[in-house]
Amino acid sequence: MKRIKIPVGPQHPALKEPISLRMTIEGEVIKDADIRLGYNHRGIEKLAESKTYIQNLYLTERICGICSHSHTTCFAQGVEALLGLEVPKRGLYLRTLVAELERIHSHLLWFGIAAHEAGFDSLFMYTWRDREVVMDILEIISGNRVHYAINTIGGVRRDLDNSQKGRILEGIEFLKKRTGYYTNLGTTEPTFVARTAGIGLLPKEKAISLCAVGPTLRASGVPSDVRKDDPYAAYSELPFDVCTADTCDVLARVVVRVKELIESYKMIEFIIKNLPSGDVKVKAPRRIKEGEVVSRYEAPRGENIHYIKSNGTDKPERLKVRAPTLGNYPATIEMLKNGYVADIPLIFAAIDPCICCAERFVEITDSRGYRNIITMNEIKRRYPSRHINKDYIWPL
C-alpha cells in the first residue's frame, strides 16, 4: 500500500498547544512519526538571566500553568541548596501539601482530557467539575487558583490555620469518593477500555532506553519516582507507595494516575494531621556566592530538572529547565509507531504533554564565530504562503 504523510498540527483540535506531529501512514496504520517543536518558544531561560532570584520565582511559576508549583519548588530548592539554607520543617510540609494538591488537580485535568480525546465527554465534564474542589482548596491555602505563589526562597509565604485544615480534609473526603467512582468507570466502561487498552504500547526496556519519565515510565512497570529515589521536601517522612502498572498501554497510564490520586489523598491527610509547629520560612540573603546546582522534582507529569549557576550577584548566570514533557517525546514516537490514525490524539495526550514548557532554542555558532541568522525575507522566499503559491501543500 502507498505510504502517505499526514500532518497533525501545528493547528489541530486535538492539540491544545501548537506542535507538529508528522505521520507516515499506510492505510490507517502509522509507520513512522516525527515531532517538530518550536512553535511556542518564549525565551524564559534567557529572561531568567536578567532577573533576581526572587523575581525568578515568579517567572519559573509561569513556565507551566498546570505544574506551576513544581517549577518554583524545583527552583527554590536549588537556590536554597546554593545558599546552604535549612528550611523549617513546617515550611517543607506546606510545600509538599501544595505539591500534592497540584498533582491531584493535574491528574484530574488529564483524566478529563484523555476522556475527551477518546470522545467520552460526560467523563470529561464530571472530572473537571470535581477538579473545582481541589482548585478551591488551593485557593483557601494560597489565595490563587493557578499560580499559587506560595513558595519563597527559604520556605513558604503563608501559614495554615485550623479552620483551613478542616476544609481541606472535607474536600479530600469528597474527592476520595469521586475517585473511587472514576477508578471503576475508567477501568470497566467497555467503550472507554476498548479505546485505551492495547494502544500506545511502550515496553519496559524501550521506556528505560528512551528515558521516559513520570507516569509514562511507571505505566511501563518501572518503579521510578524522584519522591522515593531522591526524597526532597517532606517526602522522606510521608507514607506512600510508588504506583506502577504493567500493561504498558494507555489504559496503564490511566491506572497509574488514578492510583497516584489515591496516594496523594493519603499523603495530604497525613500532612494535615502531622503538621509540625514552628516557622514557615527563614530569611534568605539576596546575593549568592559562585556555584552550580541541579535540582530534581517529581512533577505530576514526571521528573522536572532545574540547573542553576550563580556568579556572586543577585541574578543567576544560567538557568536550565528540563520539563518532563521533553523527556517523554522520544518515547511518544515509539508509542505512535504501528498504531492507528484514530489513536494519535489519545496516545499523544497520554503523556500529558505540556508543549510550551518543553520549547528550547539552540543557536549554533561554528568555530569561526559564524552565526546562521535567517532574515525575514529569506523565510518568505523559502516558505511561500499558500495564498501565493497554489501548488504548495506542506513542507514535509
Binding site: F120, M125, P345
Partner: protein
Amino acid sequence: MAAVKTFLYLFVYPGILFLFVYSTFCEWFDRKLYARLQNRIGPAYTGFAGILQPVADFFKLLFKEDIIPEKADRTVFSVLPVVGLAIVITAGLCLPLWNYDLDRSSFNSFQGDIIVVLYLLGLPTLIFFLAGWHSTNFFSTIGGVRVLTMLFGYEVPLFLAVLSPAIVADSWRLAEISYFYQRFPFLLLFQVIGFFVAVIALQAKLERTPFDIPHAETEIVGGTFTEYSGKKLAFFRLMIDIEMVVGSGLIASVFMAGFSGGLIPGLVRFIVKTLFVIAVLSIIRAMCSRIRIDQMVNFSWKYLTPFAVLQLLISIFVKGIIQ
C-alpha cells in the same frame, strides 16, 4: 379541498414548516438532556430555557461567510446540502401522521412505504460521503470514507430490525403496521430486541457518540464537514436534525404502535413517542466514548446483526403461532 389538504401536508404539517420547528425543538431537547446528564446547564438564554437556541444557531449560520475550497467541485459541493435536506424532508412526509386513509393508498402512504423511508434515510450517508469526497480536504476525505465504512456496519441490522415487525403485521405499509399493533399491543413485547437494535443502528446512522467516528473532532477535525461553512453547514445541520426526527418517527411508528387518533391526538402521540426515542439516543450518547472504526464494524457484525437475525426468527415464530 384535497388540493388544499395536500398543500398543507407538504408545506405546513408534517411538511417543511413542522419538520423545521419540531426538529429544532428536538435538537434543543437532545442538547438540554445531554447537558443535564453531564451536570451542565445547556442552552439557557434564547427563549424559554434556551428553547430557541437551535433556531438562532441556524439563522446565525445563514448569515455567515460561505467559503468554497478552490479545488472543490463547486456545483456538487453547493448542491449536496440542499439535495440532502430535500431527501430527509421527503422521508418525513411518508410517516403515517396525517392525511392518509387506511383503506386506500395515497401518495404518502402506500404498500412498501417502509422500504421507501428506509431507502431515503440511507441516502444521507451517500450525501455525507460525497460532501467529504468533494471537499478535497484530507480530513474530509477520511471522514467520507469512514461514513461509507460505517454504512456497511449498521444498515443491515437496521433493515432487519425495522422489517421484522412488518413481517408479524403482514404489511409493508407503515400506517397498516401501526394499526395492527394498536389492535394487538401485546405483540410489541416480542419486538423488544428489535427496538434496541434499531435504536443503536439509528444512533450510528445519525453519527452520534459512540459512533461519531466520521466527524471525530479530536481525530479528523470536522470530518465530512471540515470545509463547510455558512448556509451550507446550516442546511447540513438542519438535515441531521430532521433525519433524527424521521428516524425516531420511523422507530415509533413501527415499534410503538404509531400515531393514531387524527390531527391533535396524533400529533401529541408523535411528540411523546419520538421524544422517548430521542431521550434513549441522548442517554446512549452520554454514556459512551467514541469507538474506533474497526471496533464499530466488528460490533455491528458480531452483536448487532445476530440480534437482528434473532429478532427476525422470533417474528417468524410469532407469526406462525398467531396464524
